[in-house]
């Protein structure tokens, strides 16, 4: 039996005057998924999340959360969601504790001192519970953001770039926390990121969007552990290497040539054999770098954002 759909977006579109931020986006997230929502900055990730949380209204398409249309069931649905949208902003003039108490009360969750302190403990801020948020670093606010998202024990946790501004140790702690919430607590996590590695480490399924449209979708295993890779090979004599490869079982694999560098699309298990074949035929191989095609693709669209 198919698992319950927690998030169902169909034909979701958002236009701001002449700009189409999200264009006909479709995706499904199932109960228990850690779903990676990947894309470069400006791809439409935050706009999608804002629509899912009813902060902005879609221009077209449908949003169903927990099997119910968001429009007609907003309050009921939001009760089951904890979220961080972009950077976590708080009432700077209030303490961390008071912020959580206020947000927890509005959400209708347990706002006992024990519960709030438990959450602050979980994100490593228990000792600063009485400090005003204006004294917090960005990383600390990010942690407090996690605490407020988890305070009312939601079934679905939506995290928009939750590791932004954290140091490597902090990033690892967030990853561990997400895995803990998914594996031990059975939470569904929707994780937006522009870092492929981050999604790869914790997500079970993922989608890549760019310019508001879906580029790739599937399980992380399918997409990233694929046996077919791009191998970049630096040789001393590219003409001879090409001739040799064209006379071998890998003749269909040559994808591209840049000077003395060849790029072959092939099964990663054959890399060793190719290397041996070239060396035995007096070709000096100075570098052999396997690159996963999705990684390369993602790098390309991410690099594109700066151009």
């Amino acid at each position: 039996m198919e698992s319950e759909k927690i998030i169902e977006l169909s034909g979701l579109t958002k236009k701001f005057k002449n700009l189409t931020a999200v264009n006909d986006l479709n995706l499904n997230v199932y109960r228990g998924d850690v779903f990676g929502f990947l894309g470069p900055n400006g791809a439409g990730k935050s706009t999608t999340i804002r629509m899912m949380l009813s902060l902005i209204k879609p221009t077209g398409g449908n949003i169903k959360l927990f099997g119910k249309p968001l429009n007609e069931n907003r309050t009921e649905v939001l009760r089951k969601i904890g979220a961080i949208v972009e950077k976590p902003d708080f009432y700077l003039y209030l303490t961390a504790y008071k912020n959580l108490e206020i947000l927890g009360k509005i959400s209708g969750g347990d706002v006992s001192k024990k519960k709030i302190m438990e959450m602050l403990e979980l994100v490593g801020l228990a000792k600063r519970y009485n400090s005003k948020v204006k004294t917090f670093s960005h990383g600390m606010k990010q942690r407090l953001g996690l605490a407020q998202a988890l305070l009312h024990d939601p079934e679905l946790i939506i995290l928009d770039e939750p590791t932004t501004g954290l140091d490597p140790q902090g990033m690892k702690e967030v990853r561990d926390l997400v895995l803990y919430l998914s594996r031990e607590k059975g939470k569904t996590v929707f994780l937006s990121s522009h870092i492929l590695r981050e999604v790869e480490l914790i997500a079970s399924r993922m989608i890549i969007i760019n310019k508001g449209t879906t580029q790739v979708e599937g399980t992380v295993k399918e997409l990233l552990d694929s046996q077919n890779i791009d191998a970049s090979i630096d040789v001393d004599n590219a003409d001879e290497a090409v001739r040799l490869i064209e006379n071998s079982e890998w003749k269909e694999c040559i994808k591209q040539r840049n000077g003395n560098q060849l790029v072959l699309k092939m099964n990663k298990e054959n890399l060793g054999a190719l290397n041996k074949y070239l060396v035995e035929n007096n070709i000096e191989v100075s570098a052999l770098v396997p690159t996963r095609s999705l990684e390369e693709y993602f790098l390309k669209i991410t690099e594109g954002e700066g151009k």
């Binding site: 902005i56 907003r74 950077k87 902003d89 700077l92 947000l103 009360k105 959400s107 407020q148």
Partner: protein, 278 residues
Amino acid sequence: MITMIIIELQKMFKKWRTYIGFIAIGFLTVIVQLSLYMEGDRYINMATRSLKDQFVMSGNLMNGYLIANLILNGLFVHIPFLIVLVGGDLLAGEATAGTYRMLVTRPVSRFRILTSKFLAGNIYVIAMICWLALLSLGVSLLVFGSGEMITFGGGITILGEGDILWRFAGAYMVAFVSLSTVFSLSFLFSSLVENAIGPIVASMAVIIIMIILSALDIDILRSIRPYLFTTHMGVWSRFFTDPVDYREVFKSVTVLLVHTAIFYGAALYIFKKKDILS
């Protein structure tokens, strides 16, 4: 809803700008009281100079009631500017701080969010009026004592000592209605933008323009004047005429309430439709 209102009040009273109004009123009231304490007799002599030929003035004319009335007269034009400091910040301040996102993604309707803020704002206005009453009337009665009250608006009226307190109660109540209208205007502007300065300045500008329009004695403006809320903001002073013209009070209060309802309704419509992009 009550929880939401309490939360809004907690947030409001943790901000220092909320106290600007209280500090300003406190400061100005004390200044007026001190001045009248030192030079009150001269003021009374000047004000009653024309009457001295026909009447014999006796008793404690410079009493707490008169001073409270003078303070109300002097400050009422300026209190709206203190009110908009808070009203203009209530919604736009959340947008500036980025806390709109936190608030609007909670499982409460936008109607409840906006209405709780609106009601909390009105409680602030009530608190401000209570503070004004406490300082201007309470402290003045303690310092200057009580007595008959002499008022000078539209001729001289002398009100008996036992006939005054209820008038102040009425005056403060309708003063709340007019300040609530001012608050609602700044609240509406606050729903439109994402920076608190804009609504504060815009509300002040609208009030100044409308006060000028209400005051200009030009034929073409006479027809619109009854519909401007600023025309009715001085309705509180009608409680110090004898007899009180309740018809006029009712008319003014109605105009003010209609304005408040329109401003609140417009703010609600805008807020419900608003895309939260901050």
